[in-house]
């Protein structure tokens, strides 16, 4: 299928292009940008007038809920949600049921995903067996089956000794390790940021030092072992400051934040709204502002959705009992654009955080528009307002703190390997 994307504003953060350019697709790849190749005739012309044409979004954390949590969501529904959100590549965390600690499970997931012909799925393998934090998984086997990195999701490691071993083992093969810094003991029982709101509402709290102490250990051990470490879902001002300093000292770490943390704070808990119960918790305004500054100055490499669709039954409960997490694949794009608008940052800088930045962390051939490479493309309307409600979300999870609100920015066409896998009505 030869597709000509015509008249759009091309933004390719990786190459620095932000200009009106046409894109020509054939046989699943981009064959040219700007001028049509000789003898090219399109089967289909997509009119991208007034729209932005960018690389398909790359999301470093999206829970697809298979295997094991099919009552919350299925591969089918969440992959629809992904491409409806302009996401063409996504990494899924290992906290499925059973966790992704067996090559057979990983292979099955990849097989199922591929057959659905939607976004590319990059499984992240469990760092320890059963995610129990004790014994290492067969990392090399898991990579053979298709894992791109290893993580504990939100489960703790038994102690620092396991962390050292895991990093050393991964470093042996050069496998990346993605870790969310949280000290289990300091965070135990906590459901909200240790600040003014938790004090007023009487919610058990997670102090910032739960993140920074774990972060300190990870940074020291990353240097000590030489492992490739990616820090997932930073949430605090002190946390990003530590990463900034580590980067300045030449440590090759990368980090991401969840898209909600670029916008919301502890105040958004309001009257105990369970939709604002997230992991890590929404912190103070000062923390949020520091995360935004870290996006702008490059300390934070990527914004991810941390997509976590959750069943009504386990979400509609008193705050502390509610299952944490929010559905977010379809909100990644508009919320990233919202940050750019509020921070008065160039669109290309914002889009880099969801394309070239995460692609680099993933180590995948994604997040860029280059002739000769797969045509994973997002064509979106940056000005289109839409209401976040159950009916407008393709994800089975309707749990979002933005429920009922209007957001700006929606994908119009999403192409994966040159095929239109999503087209807005």
């Amino acid at each position: 299928m030869r597709i000509h994307i015509k008249g759009g504003r091309l933004i390719d953060p990786g190459s620095g292009v932000d200009a009106p350019r046409d894109v020509y697709v054939a046989a699943g790849k981009i064959v040219a940008i700007g001028e049509a190749p000789n003898g090219y005739t399109a089967n289909r012309v997509i009119d991208a007038t007034g729209l932005v044409v960018c690389p398909g979004l790359v999301d470093l954390a999206a829970r697809l809920r298979e295997p094991g949590f099919e009552y919350m969501a299925t591969l089918e529904s969440e992959m629809e949600a992904a491409v409806a959100g302009g996401v063409t590549s996504l990494a899924c965390p290992p906290d499925t049921d059973p966790p992704l600690d067996e090559p057979g499970l990983v292979a099955m997931l990849k097989f199922r995903a591929k057959n659905l012909n939607r976004a590319h799925v990059y499984p992240v393998g469990a760092l320890t067996q059963g995610l129990k934090g004790g014994r290492l998984t067969e990392m090399a086997e898991l990579v053979d089956a298709g894992c791109v990195a290893f993580s504990q999701a939100d489960a703790p490691l038994a102690d620092h000794q396991v962390l050292v071993s895991a990093l050393q083992y991964a470093a042996t093969f050069g496998f990346p390790v993605w870790l969310r810094p949280q000290d289990a003991a300091l965070a135990r029982g906590g459901v909200a940021h240790d600040g003014e709101v938790a004090t007023r509402l009487g919610l058990a709290a997670i102090p910032v030092c739960a993140e920074t102490i774990a972060l300190a250990a990870i940074l020291i051990l990353a240097r000590h072992t030489g492992a490739r470490v990616h820090l997932a879902r930073l949430s605090s001002a002190e946390g990003v400051a530590m990463v900034r300093q580590a980067k300045q000292h030449g440590l090759p770490v990368t980090c991401d934040i969840g898209v909600h943390h670029a916008h919301l704070t502890e105040m958004d808990i309001g009257y105990f709204d369970p939709n604002s119960h997230l992991v890590p918790p929404l912190r103070s305004q000062r923390d949020r502002d520091a995360l935004r500054a870290a996006l702008a100055d490059g300390t934070v490499d990527a914004i991810c959705s941390d997509h976590t669709p959750v069943d009504e039954d386990v979400k509609q409960l008193p705050f502390a009992q509610a299952e944490p997490g929010a559905t977010a694949l379809e909100l990644l794009l508009p919320l990233t654009l919202k940050w750019a608008e509020e921070a008065k940052a160039p669109l290309a800088l914002a889009l880099a955080k969801v394309t070239s930045g995460p692609a680099r962390v993933l180590g995948a051939d994604a997040g860029h528009l280059t002739p000769g490479h797969p045509a994973d493309i997002c064509v979106f309307d940056a000005e289109r307002y839409w209401k976040v409600e159950a009916g407008s979300l393709k994800s089975q999870g309707k749990n979002t703190p933005f429920l009922g609100l209007e957001l700006k920015g929606k994908a119009r066409y999403t192409l994966v390997e040159g095929q239109v896998v999503y087209e807005a009505k």
Partner: protein, 319 residues
């Protein structure tokens, strides 16, 4: 859903529809409750027909004989029918969900739910999901709020001290885990108390507690100096297990209310305690039973306050 999006406790006419927390309630409403309670205190006729034909359901997810009994007495004195439901909760048991429980009970023509729950925010959750004409009263939720206790403490203070405007009040003990303390602080602030002190070791104080508008003291003698009202909090034995305190003995030595420590306060200072008391841990028997203690009157006022709350709530419409 909320009747009034800017305040989940009020209807659109600004009248009290639920009592979930004292935070965010205007002074006028707090005073209305105190004034209405006054007409029940010392009344010769104990029972009035106001709530005849109405059903009050006590939903106690956290056991409590004392509080449940006072609510039951209050409802019966208003001639309401009272149904007591002791609902054991365990996050492990996947029985009927909280929402389903609430829906089923709503269908039984309840007018009012009195809810006690171990999770902060549970009464808010229930209020959000009940039919619009059902009123919810929070009888204590996690660490968040115990509004009727806060109100009866305010009634007690007003009874003995007349005005809030010149008072120094000290709250002593485990503020971190106390829903009573939070409700007291909100009420005192709203009613115009100019100086509220909290006295506790650092491990028993929540983060940013000063932002609630209180002065923090770690030294009890300093903290009690010239206060008019001393509000003691109960210390639960679990706190020793949680590595927050070494022992009840050390706590008593530095934070227990003895006659000696009380002497730092004004000679006519009153001593309150929400009960039940741990004699010899947070308070000495000689103080609890002494001339400055108003702990027993608090109980009488508690019934009147709950009658007042129910009277006001049952009369407001879901508009």
């Amino acid at each position: 859903m909320w009747l009034n999006p800017s305040n989940p406790q009020l209807n659109r006419a600004g009248e009290l529809h639920h009592l979930l927390t004292l935070e965010g309630l205007p002074a006028e409403i707090l005073r209305q409750i105190l004034d209405t309670a006054k007409s029940f205190v010392g009344a010769k006729v104990k029972k009035v027909p106001l709530l005849r034909g109405r059903a009050v359901f006590n939903l106690f997810f956290e056991p409590s004989t004392r509080t449940r009994t006072t609510f039951e007495i209050a409802a019966k004195r208003l001639s309401a029918d009272v149904i007591n439901l002791a609902i054991a909760t365990s996050s492990q048991t996947k029985g009927e969900s909280l929402l389903d429980t609430v829906d089923n009970l709503s269908a039984m023509h309840a007018d009012m739910f009195v809810v006690r729950h171990s999770e902060s925010g549970a009464p808010h959750f229930i209020a959000r999901h009940v039919a619009p004409d059902i009123h919810v009263i929070n009888a204590g939720d996690g660490r968040h709020a115990h509004p009727t206790q806060g109100l009866l403490d305010m009634y007690t203070i007003r009874h003995y001290k007349k005005e809030f405007s010149g008072l120094r009040v000290a709250i002593v003990g485990d503020i971190l885990h106390s829903r009573v303390a939070r409700s007291q602080i909100h009420a005192l602030t709203t009613l115009g108390c100019p100086e509220i002190r909290v006295i506790a070791p650092k491990t028993l104080l929540p983060a940013h507690v000063e932002q609630l508008g209180v002065h923090v003291h770690h030294d009890m003698r300093q903290g009690l100096k010239d206060v008019d009202v001393v509000m003691m909090l109960r210390l639960q034995s679990e706190r020793m297990q949680g590595a927050l305190l070494p022992s009840a003995e050390e706590f008593y030595k530095y934070y227990g209310l003895t006659e000696q420590k009380l002497a730092a306060a004004k000679p006519d200072a009153i001593v309150l305690h929400p009960g039940p008391m741990n004699r010899g841990v947070e308070i000495d028997s000689s103080v609890a039973d002494g001339r400055q203690s108003v702990i027993l009157p608090q109980v009488t006022f508690g019934i009147a306050i709950r009658m007042a709350v129910m009277s006001i709530l049952a009369g407001t419409k879901a508009k």
